[in-house]
Symmetry: C2
Subunit: 379 residues, 2 copies
């Protein structure tokens, strides 16, 4: 039995918004005032979202306030929305988070404070996340990067830093790693503990089109039935515009051993595509919850890579770290990853694999992946 | 007659979203697919929003797509939302903007490119907007500031900078000046042109409560019938926590002649309340579209200030610049400002007044105010 009195507003609510509320047992009560509606449901986002995948019908009271308490799910960040007479709408009590190519409600279902400490602010030195606008020749447009500079960047003026390029997933954007992912707190805590070396982290949007093209359509469908179709434009943007902006205006270490790229889900394909064909620029690749790369389902990863993995000895010599991470609660990407490992074993290609129990194709998996991956970088 | 072919997606849309669309004559077409709805309207935000204040009924086609084209309004940024069978919902095609104490759709109705150049990115050096998390003793909580550092901050390492504290309006938050206000581009362009000296700009949230208090309720009603009730907590936060964090971790000039505070609407009350009672910290105050300060409607501004304006000679000697800006299209705040000027004239208190034609209690007024105000600072 859950009661309101011992529940509290979700940390993802806007200030003062009483709903959604989290109960001590992890169940969540959603509420929406919609007197004119005939049917209201709450719909968890995604296929394997920790809240389930089916919509929950809400119950109307005499004043037209619809309420539903749903069972405890996997902790972490979950997208959700209301469905009002068939129309998907945001919860006015929730902050919005860019996912599914739109601004979407989201709820953080807290873990225990010890377990969650690594992605929450602690009494350690904090870096900044900088919004940096720059002109990209590739797209002939102004673009915005989110750039984490570690604590000390403003004072250790003789120090230069390695750089991690960190890609978001399908339907999200350059804000995701900070807003949904808490990457800055993960980096602050890992650096303060000496688990990671101080580094700059660059997050840009994986969606890019050439001048005159219209904005690209969403590349990942909600049901993820096919591999994302990646544009080469994003790799050209990273190589020709983003890296030169970063190296030109931040105190970076610019050799390939001090530049890594990683991404979650669709972003892992951007990381692979970009790094494998630009190994003069990167020596470390991180793949978090990776879907197939191009026609990998048909030809395997080595062939889908299009050359750079053909000679294992050359690849192993050239690539310092090829890292795969997945949650055991995401059957598709976990399975794809296992298949990759078998193939890479047979091909003699070195890699590191790390998995985390129970969590799904969601941000808690990627927070954990980042927290593990960064400990291995630039050592 | 407007046609779709010569229209274009509003710049405030999410990537690839075709609606809302702006026509060359400035009219706007909104669209929402809601087959299950019985009535759909588009509601411009605010009282004197440039799009009008009444909801516009939308028309349903056979597929359940609702459309409405509304006449050209005042250019600039306008909040809006759909009303679906009485329920206010965001437009999935729009970015969201924090206003009205919730995430809200917004549309930028473009001005001519020359007129608008000052708040758009240009080929000039760009500063960063830094997201900085810090611990506030006043609230016993982690808080986030948006901090603009001008171009050159990372390279002119012997240089120290004056600081402008810039407050948002009622129902908005620390993101407003960057997201809705384009403050970073305004600063970049003003600094590059030599119209403003390089400065740091600090934006924090005006909503703060003491430990154990619940989040404060919204302080400004939608119809603005009464003065905002300000908490003293925000002034204590600024004085005791924010300034020390900023001066402790950025290369600032820390004397009062190099510290200014300004705000829009409710934020102007925060600026006045904070500066007037801490004149050892500030010598410049900017009031953009200011509502009454406390019981100013009954007792006048000098009395409402509670002491610091009682002796005009002392005040004039102490305050380098007291600046008022308003749009002629916001009858309430423009009128309040005129009444203030009469009172201050009679009291012998020096001020600077600037008004801008036609624009309302909206962001275009505040972009213009900022663009003018910053030229006067730290000279």
């Amino acid at each position: 039995m859950t009661t309101l009195s011992d529940s509290y507003p979700a940390p993802t609510n806007t200030r003062g918004a009483p709903y959604p509320r989290v109960h001590p047992d992890g169940s969540i009560t959603f509420q929406l005032k919609a007197p004119g509606a005939r049917r209201v449901q709450v719909q968890p986002g995604g296929m394997d979202n920790g809240l389930g995948s089916e919509p929950y019908d809400m119950t109307r009271d005499a004043e037209g306030v619809w309420t539903r308490t749903i069972p405890s799910g996997v902790p972490g960040f979950h997208y959700y929305w209301f469905v009002v007479d068939g129309l998907a709408v945001n919860d006015p009590g929730s902050e919005t988070f860019f996912g599914y190519n739109r601004q979407t409600s989201g709820i953080e279902l807290p873990e225990g404070p010890e377990v969650a400490a690594y992605y929450h602010p602690q009494a350690v030195p904090h870096g900044d996340v900088r919004l940096r606008w720059y002109w990209a020749n590739t797209t002939q447009s102004w673009r915005r990067a989110y750039i984490y500079t570690p604590s000390g960047y403003d004072t250790d003026l003789d120090k230069r830093y390695p750089v991690l390029y960190l890609q978001h997933g399908g339907g999200e954007d350059e804000r995701g790693w900070t807003t949904q992912g808490h990457m800055n707190f993960i980096m602050d805590n890992a650096i303060a503990a000496g688990r990671a070396v101080p580094m700059i982290v660059v997050m840009e949007c994986n969606y890019a089109c050439e001048p005159g093209q219209s904005a690209p359509p969403p590349v990942v469908s909600l049901v993820r039935t096919r591999p994302p179709r990646l544009s080469q434009v994003i790799t050209r943007l990273i190589v020709d515009d983003l890296i030169s902006m970063v190296d030109g205006s931040f105190r970076t270490l610019t050799d390939r051993t001090n530049r890594a790229i990683a991404g979650l889900s669709m972003g892992s394909c951007v990381a692979l595509q970009t790094a494998l064909h630009n190994l003069d620029l990167f020596d470390t690749i991180g793949v978090f919850s990776g879907p197939p790369l191009g026609d990998e389902d048909d030809v395997g990863m080595v062939a889908a890579a299009g050359g750079p993995m053909d000679d294992a000895a050359v690849f192993n010599d050239r690539v310092h770290l090829l890292w795969f991470g997945a949650g055991t609660g995401e059957p598709r990407e976990w399975g794809i990853t296992q298949r990759r490992l078998v193939e890479l074993d047979e091909a003699g290609i070195y890699y590191t694999y790390w998995e985390t129990p129970d969590v799904a194709h969601e941000w808690l998996t990627w927070r954990r992946c980042l927290n593990e991956f960064v400990t291995l970088l630039f050592r």
